[in-house]
C-alpha cells in the first residue's frame, strides 16, 4: 500500500516526521517532500498557549485517503503519501499534522504535498479550539463543508 493515513491521539503519542519520511521512501523515489503543521503562539492578535483538536476520525481518515488518491491521479501512481493528523490538546510548538510525499522527481512531491494540506484544510472533519494566555478558549472559525463527497443512501 502506498498511502498511509491516520488520526492519532497526540496526548498519547506525538506525530513523528521521521516515520512519515520513512514511509514515502522507495527505491524508485528520488524525491521526498515534508509538511509539518504546528501550534503557533499567536493568532489574530491573541496570545495562544495551546490548541485542542477535535476530529471525526472515521470520516477524516476516509477523507484523507480520498485526497491522497486524487493526488496520485494528478501526479502519478508512483507517488507515496503519508498523512497523520493529531487529535487532542497540544501546546505551542506541538505538531498537529505531518504530511509526506515521495515521488520519482521533486516537482510531483512538492505539488502533491501542497495539494494534500490545502484540501485537508477545507474538506476534512477537524476542528481547532484555541486556548489563550488570558484563560479564554474559542473554536476557530472554519470552512463550511461543501457538497464534495456527498452521497445519498438508497
Amino acid at each position: 500500500m502506498n498511502i498511509h493515513v491516520e488520526v492519532r491521539d497526540v496526548t498519547a503519542a506525538p506525530l513523528d516526521p521521521a516515520e512519515a519520511l520513512n514511509f514515502v521512501e522507495s527505491g524508485g523515489n528520488g524525491a521526498g517532500a515534508l509538511f509539518l503543521g504546528a501550534v503557533r503562539n499567536r493568532n489574530q492578535g491573541r496570545d495562544v498557549n495551546g490548541v485542542s483538536y477535535d476530529v471525526f476520525a472515521p470520516l477524516a481518515e476516509q477523507n484523507f485517503s480520498e485526497i491522497c488518491t486524487e493526488a496520485q491521479q494528478k501526479w502519478g501512481d508512483e507517488l507515496r503519501l503519508f498523512v497523520a493528523h493529531g487529535k487532542g490538546r497540544l501546546d505551542v510548538g506541538g505538531l498537529s499534522i505531518v504530511i509526506a510525499a515521495g515521488s520519482p522527481h521533486r516537482d510531483e512531491a512538492f505539488r502533491a504535498c501542497r495539494y494534500v494540506i490545502e484540501e485537508i484544510k477545507t474538506r476534512s472533519p477537524v476542528w481547532k479550539q484555541e486556548h489563550y494566555t488570558d484563560g479564554d478558549s474559542e473554536w476557530v472559525q472554519g470552512h463550511a463543508l461543501c457538497q464534495h463527497g456527498e452521497h445519498q443512501h438508497d
Binding site: 484544510k121 481547532k128 463550511a144 463543508l145
Partner: protein, 80 residues
C-alpha cells in the same frame, strides 16, 4: 424512530452525543429541524452552515435516514 448525533467542534459544549426522536422515513432535513429545536439560539447561525454526515460521507439534505442511525454534525472545519 430514534437517531444519535455525535457532536463536534462548537457543538461539543452540548455533550458528546444527542439523541433525537424523528418521524418514520425521516430525511436529513428532518434531523436538522429536530436538532435545531434542541440547541440554544446562539448556535443556530453555526448550525445553518453545518452539515450532517455518517462515517462514510457528508449527507445531502434529502438523504433518507435509517432507524437507529448514528450521524455526526459537522460545523465549518479548521484542520491542518
Amino acid at each position: 424512530m430514534q437517531v444519535k448525533i455525535q457532536l463536534f467542534g462548537a457543538f461539543r459544549p452540548l455533550g458528546d452525543v444527542m439523541e433525537l426522536q424523528l418521524v418514520e422515513q425521516a430525511k436529513v432535513s428532518d434531523v436538522r429541524a429536530a436538532f435545531a429545536a434542541n440547541v440554544p439560539g446562539e448556535l443556530h447561525d453555526t448550525l445553518a452552515v453545518s452539515r450532517f454526515a455518517d462515517e462514510k460521507a457528508v449527507l445531502a439534505e434529502d438523504a433518507a435516514i435509517a432507524p437507529n442511525a448514528i450521524l455526526a454534525i459537522l460545523p465549518p472545519v479548521s484542520g491542518g
